[in-house]
Symmetry: C2
Subunit: 361 residues, 2 copies
DNA sequence: CCATCATGGTAAAGTGTTTCACCGTGGAGT
DNA sequence: ACTCCACGGTGAAACACTTTACCATGATGG
């Protein structure tokens, strides 16, 4: 007796059981036939329809196991109208994915989407992509059930197209109050406020700001808080203490250079993100300024490697991963029409490291 | 006369033209009817079948324009057996996407995939994901036509499953000679060799190596080259000059500490990637060593921010973006069966910046 | 004792393409 | 004048599921 009971042959990956006609994948029909039920019943088992008795459910399940049956999700989508795919749409910044800011957000999105049975497809919103209305094609042609937009600004009017056509879309960590777009963001104002309080506590009075582009609402918010707190404190710092750093290392470096040329006595620089902060520190080193002894530097985002530069960067921790997670959750709810408007704000907090110190003198 | 000729109403996103029955998307049948041809003809126009006359092609095209018709790609996939989707499979490293190394690779993959009419879906190979054979489900259930695996090592035996089942898969920037897996990689040996030549030129004789895990073929290769060159030069450096840095900043930092404890007279450290190099520089600063005056540091990868640390990091430039591009190209060819085996190596080169200098004394 | 209803399952009609076998027409070849 | 073939196009099956309307059964209630 070579084999006791050859009841459940290890199913091959291609889903072809030992007992099916060779060369053909096992389909729902095969399962139905072997389980001696109708195709509809198998489908209902697949979809956890409560109409089915535990007994028949088990019977069908067993056949599925034995045959290694796996539903073809293309056919499922065709019938059911749901693809269980989400799009993550990114702006056209060179190698945008190489930016840990986006990476963290997308990590969160992917992890949660996976947990909730969805897959994530990546899209780059190049100018001609938008012109050809490929963003709508995504829905029209049934590629995805919903979209998450990350890193766009006020010039990206196409973001309004989704809502107009009734497609589920969410802006992630950036908001567009003027267009009433659903969003999950972090508390940029709060973070900026904490930074200012902290810098004042350290005795800084000559503070420069390297901000990101004003087309981005959150960049504006941070600057507003900066301006407001500076005014309240009566420091009398005008616009010459603000410089655009384009959200990049190079931009931050150049902004820092301009700032120092104008105000050699500056004692602290607040950068709108960590990348610019790195640029600032780089430039300070070049100009012979010590951080934090001569100049304190604060960043914003708390990217992983911010803790490993010299000196380690004090920065505002933005829960990017968590923002991604929540965005995925809300989007899926939006798709299932369990909710119809989302506007969520996650808290930020200051992360103190070595790039800040008491103001000199 | 309100409207001159209402011939081409601006098609709504939902593809419903002004003249179709409301509430129903326009399908291939509608186009066929309006163009007075058969459904098959429309399909052939869609697929650029040469059988169709220019005249009829134009006639059909015009109707498509006017109605704003867009083929439902789910139905297309169901018939044609191609989904035009590629999977990018990533290992379970915390927030792996936030790592610019992966980001660059994926950027390249996405850009090229998009250009060739494919979409990219992201997958994380968690342990239970593999156990449940979800990696095969990707193909069995017709999610994707092919897969690109990034960042895996010798413990990930599941990589063999793809080939066994005849599914198109490519390993990106890591190779598995023992399993004969198709791959597109960069020339790690060549890069390491250039580093060693350069360090010798600078007069370094006491050189430490902070390497990545030996489960990764490329890490082994780099170490082998290091060992070989060191032996050839007769420096007499044993294994105590090698430390595992786990490919992370923290790991690099700790490895550096151990290295210096053992060999306080070390004058150069070669790190297997930029992240570890940052950790090394961080630790050197903590221990009061100046870079590059006391110790030279060389990284590997040339991530974007490596140029913006202090001092700027000398490193081996790995064409990650380009590797991604080529991998996408080759995978698509594999899917279309235009080729049946791929093993491509892209060149690397040394990028000199401020973290290296003549050996002291 | 018969009408009513809840239960558990089924047959068949979508879902929107591609593809394959076939067909009518007109021109070339003999 | 007849056969043959290339050309350009058509009708219908196939793809692999979900869903809806419907049906048999047995329990329940008046």
């Amino acid at each position: 007796m070579p084999k006791p009971t050859a009841q459940a042959p290890a199913p091959a990956s291609n889903g072809r059981p030992a007992d099916a006609k060779p060369g053909k994948r096992v389909g729902i029909r095969d399962v139905a036939r072997l389980a001696e039920v109708s195709v509809a019943t198998v489908s209902m088992v697949l979809n956890h329809n409560p109409k089915i008795t535990a007994a028949t459910r088990e019977k069908v399940r067993r056949v599925m196991e034995q045959t290694g049956y796996q539903p073809n999700r293309i056919a499922q989508s065709l019938s059911s109208k749901y693809t269980r795919m989400l799009a993550v749409i990114l702006p056209t910044v060179r190698h945008v994915l190489a930016d840990p800011y986006f990476g963290e957000l997308i990590s969160g999105i992917c992890d949660r989407a996976e947990r909730r049975g969805h897959k994530v497809v990546l899209e780059h919103a190049k100018p001609d992509w938008v012109r050809d209305r490929r963003h709508l094609e995504l829905f029209d042609r049934r590629f995805v059930d919903g979209a998450l937009c990350v890193g766009f600004n006020d010039h990206h009017g196409f973001l309004q197209d989704f809502g107009k056509n009734g497609w589920p879309m969410l802006s992630v960590n950036s908001e567009f109050p003027q267009w009433g777009i659903d969003h999950v963001v972090s508390d940029y104002a709060g973070g900026a406020d904490q930074v200012m309080t902290y810098l004042f506590q350290l005795g800084h009075r000559k503070i420069g700001m390297v901000h990101g582009a004003f087309e981005i609402a959150t960049a504006r918010v941070v600057c507003e808080v900066f301006g407001q707190r500076v005014d309240e404190a009566g420091l009398g710092l005008d616009n010459t203490w603000l410089e655009d750093g384009l959200f990049t290392e190079v931009g931050g470096r150049d902004a820092c250079e301009r700032l120092l040329a104008r105000h050699p006595d500056i004692t602290a620089i607040f950068a709108g993100n960590d990348k610019m902060a790195l640029g600032v520190m780089h430039q300070l080193a070049l100009m012979g300024k010590r951080v934090p002894d001569d100049v304190s530097v604060v960043g914003y985002d708390d990217l992983q490697h911010a803790a490993f530069v010299n000196p380690a960067l004090s920065t505002v921790h933005v829960p990017l991963y968590e923002v991604g997670v929540r965005a995925a959750d809300r989007l899926i709810e939006l798709i299932r029409k369990r909710t119809d408007s989302v506007s969520e704000v996650l808290p930020t907090h200051l992360k103190l490291r070595g790039s800040t110190a008491i103001a000199p003198r």
